[in-house]
Subunit: 225 residues, 2 copies
Amino acid sequence: MKSEKISELTTNRLSVYLRCLKDLADGGHETVSSEALAKAYNLNSAQIRKDLANFGEFGVRGVGYCIKSLRENLTDILGLNSRRRVCIIGAGRLGAALANYYISSGKNFEVVALFDVDQQKIGKKISDVEVFDVKDFAAVAKRAKIEVAVLAVPAESAQSIADVVMGAGIKAVMNFAPVPLKVCEDVKLKTVDLTTSLDSLSYYLAGADRSNGKHMKPNGGGGRI
Amino acid sequence: MKSEKISELTTNRLSVYLRCLKDLADGGHETVSSEALAKAYNLNSAQIRKDLANFGEFGVRGVGYCIKSLRENLTDILGLNSRRRVCIIGAGRLGAALANYYISSGKNFEVVALFDVDQQKIGKKISDVEVFDVKDFAAVAKRAKIEVAVLAVPAESAQSIADVVMGAGIKAVMNFAPVPLKVCEDVKLKTVDLTTSLDSLSYYLAGADRSNGKHMKPNGGGGRI
DNA sequence: TGATGTGAAGCGGTTCACAGCC
DNA sequence: GGCTGTGAACCGCTTCACATCA
């Protein structure tokens, strides 16, 4: 138990561990060692132990971890005991797909509102979630107790919408617009850039094309989680 | 110019630089210094110079970088001169949204095929792209000269589909299924885990909830690109 | 014995600071 | 003078290796 700053890389892995443990529990297992867990899901056993040790001594030496209690602990650590209330801004295809994805995948997050500027869409429902006017964001966010905003809007409007979101007191933002947003210190921003991701793959392919393998990065093996 | 191994973090940033440069060019600028670029898009000037220096001496001391030629160089480095041929496997909402996203955003990638197992969808068109039976993957991939596969399938089938994709000789895979896939050494895999991303935000919110701020990680300021 | 928890080593990426060049 | 290119310092994450304990 160390109680230092926990990096985002660590919390990402905790989420992965939690899923793996669910998988094992579904398979009827009751305990698991860091080594077995690592083997099964190609992770690193030392890293698993270190990650968990940040939050307490969950294991039993000579035995491993009790899956049931470790799941409870991780759920607690990640704050997933109660469902987080999420909204998605931008009710285009990406927004709609994300809404559907988060609604249908698991019980951790609840999509309580969609927002858009398009008057055609406002008032309609997508996957049973109402689309509101982004003009009313602050009021709706307060009423619906929204904790997380997912931005699925065009690059041009992303920053101004982020400002609206922050103005409404939202502290967690996930951004799918391909721009580096500027946010306040106390707001947690996570950007998923679907464009750079593909560009990066293109670089790898270009490397394979290049006659001399100079810039190749042969480590294909998956990269970080 | 160093010609060492280039990390994925670097190539991701190159893609971001390229977009920023396009933005500047559209704004009528002709040259830019690393400092100005960093200021405008909240990046780090030393890092910009280091990243670029990996590939050549593109700048002019005392002046900065010529935007036009730097764009050409970056486009070349990232292998974005010719459009990359992409397919999307899984023609559900996420797959359809991604298809639409990549079709409408820029000219770098061309979605040439969709795949699914659902007989209802096969043969139909989504955003003008035909949906094929995933059984025919190898043949279609060869015929359509597919270079990149985007996996938008359920977690359960992700690994087996990845195996099919690799079997067909595809060397670049982008995975949206929330599982750690196992891939060959020479295949470049990029996983975007929409679940862990949200879980990670939840951890941050839980930290704000926690009475003692022990596990809080106050660095909200955007994180890595 | 067997697996955890952890100090220490190792590694890679970022930042600094300045020499070198226009 | 100004800005690039870069060695060196710094920092944080990962991996190792082992003391520790059921």
